[in-house]
């Protein structure tokens, strides 16, 4: 190495050192620690020598006898399976409409994007009140339309649907990313397709979808990861009830770790979550070869 290259390497590492330090202490280290912790029983507060090694007991208990875990897993999986595709479809539909050179594009875009910006405790309060079975706006409209009025968050069979609807309402981010993807599609492709006499539907099927597939792929991965991390809304709106019908995975993890201080058990929960998210992400990545089209792939 020349002196200059050596100096650059040193400066490079120096510039990157905040993240390198952070990575060691707040990502890599904790990941290893959390894996080790998942084989222990410890409340995390008392001195380290009170930590007990118990082998795979946490995992065995989680996967065999813990009914709350099974419930939390099912709830979250159901939520993911419904909310992610519904969100992607809604985002795509809204983006397609906005991409038709409509007048007032900025206004519509603002309205659709706004809810995803203001997530948090306050919006959870809004939804809690909106879906109040006796006094909320939703059941009032259903009443006017002479439709059945569900108990929403108070009813085990409908409670999860409120969260699903709320996630669709917060789809603005995904819509913006999709809209940006749509605007990247070169118009000459549409013109060529139109010259060939392609119908609107086949233009969508053979031009829009393939060109948009990397964007959809990105949204799908992010959607899956996000859907396994629902916490604030569940904590604020239901606390997991009624009868654990809205016990989301991360809410259960939080309760175990920071309400019951079973840090070992909660670490096992965290690692199962990690394994599931990783497996799903890899699955999507694997399958992407079949349906994601990258421009320039053929020529390069």
């Amino acid at each position: 190495m020349t002196r200059r290259a050596k100096r650059e390497a040193l400066e490079g590492i120096l510039f990157a050192s905040p993240w390198l330090i952070g990575f060691v202490f707040f990502t890599a280290g904790p990941m290893i620690a959390s894996f080790l912790l998942s084989f222990t029983r410890w409340n995390g507060i008392t001195p380290l020598h009170e930590l007990k090694w118990i082998g795979a007991e946490n995992y065995v208990k989680l996967l065999t006898t813990d009914h709350s875990f099974a419930k939390a897993f099912r709830n979250t999986a159901f939520y993911a399976v419904v909310a992610v595709p519904l969100g992607l479809a809604t985002a795509l539909s809204l983006a397609l409409m906005l991409n038709q050179r409509v007048r007032g594009l900025a206004a519509f875009r603002t309205i659709f994007y706004l809810p995803s910006v203001v997530s948090g405790v306050a919006t959870s309060m809004l939804w809690l009140w909106l879906f109040n079975p006796s006094f909320g706006g939703v059941n009032w409209v259903l009443h006017l339309l002479r439709l059945p009025e569900p108990g929403w968050l108070t009813d085990e069979s409908t409670a999860l649907w409120v969260f699903i609807l709320m996630s669709v309402w917060g789809v603005g981010n995904t819509m913006l990313i999709t809209l940006a993807g749509l605007q990247e599609v070169p118009t000459h492709l549409y013109e060529a397709a139109a010259l060939d006499g392609a119908s609107t539907l086949s233009r969508f099927r053979h031009v829009t979808l393939p060109m948009l597939s990397p964007t959809l792929f990105f949204n799908l991965v992010m959607g899956i990861i996000g859907s396994f991390q629902v916490f604030t809304s569940a904590y604020v709106m239901t606390g997991g009830g009624p009868n654990e019908a809205t016990l989301f995975y991360v809410l259960y993890l939080y309760q175990k770790a920071f309400e019951q201080f079973q840090m070992g058990y909660a670490s096992a929960l965290a690692w199962i979550l990690f394994a599931v998210v990783l497996a799903l992400t890899l699955l999507v990545f694997r399958s992407s070869r079949l349906w994601v089209y990258y421009e320039g792939e053929l020529s390069s």
């Binding site: 040193l10 510039f15 993240w19 809204l94 659709f112 006094f135 964007t215 990105f218």
Partner: protein, 280 residues
Amino acid sequence: MKTRNQWPIYLLLVFCSILFITPFLFALSSSLKKLDAVYAYPPTLLPVPPQWSNYEKAVTSLPFGQFLMNSVFLTLACVAGQLVTGALVAYSFARLRWPGRDVMFLVLLSTMMLPGQVTMIPTFILWTHLRDFTGMDWVGTFKPLIVPSFLGGAPIFIFLMRQFFKGIPVELEEAARIDGCSTFEIFWRIVLPLSRPVLTTVAVLSFIGHWHDFMGPLIYLDRVETYTLQLGLRMFQTVNGGFTHYLMAASMLVLLPVLVLFFVAQRQLVQGISLTGIKG
């Protein structure tokens, strides 16, 4: 494409807009009603006359001023750390050559997909036990919430800045180097001033993220004096839950700063979000 009749699209767009905006309007209306009107059946659409005093009651029943100060301090500190250290790291990944850089960049990208819950528990234990070594409290203060932002912050923002820095013509930096500028001077006096768009985007996105953070403060802050607005609002719910009109007023107030920021910085936000997807 241009001559097609577009009215069904407009109809659908307006319908969807109403659906998206209704939760806000319903809450706004409730926040301005008297208590008996909130629980009236059938509900009234408009609060007549509007009870502006609800907002006063909501603000004075809990130390919301203190919560606001805490939220502002915490959020601004995190944004500052994110901008300064995140940009340094991003510049290193964009321009400087060092052994292992490309591998570490892949590592950085893959941490974007790591659920925070995996590292949450040992991190909490680390902060708890740091007390034994340093003799001062960490849990219960803002430090555990701020320090990570000064260590590069969120990987997605490092990534965004790196992409932007790579797009700056390298000739400018080479010329400055010939003129005798140090690497830090090049970064500080040439690269950063040219990167205003991406820095604004990161600042706004990071502000919104930290402003809404609930789980972090919930885990680390235990005294009411240190509560953020999000924790305060949650406390308001458990204390005054039955007084829906006050609760809605408090919720609208917590939303207000983000709404203002949203309308001021909408362009940066839209561009920033769009970027995260395209390069993904």
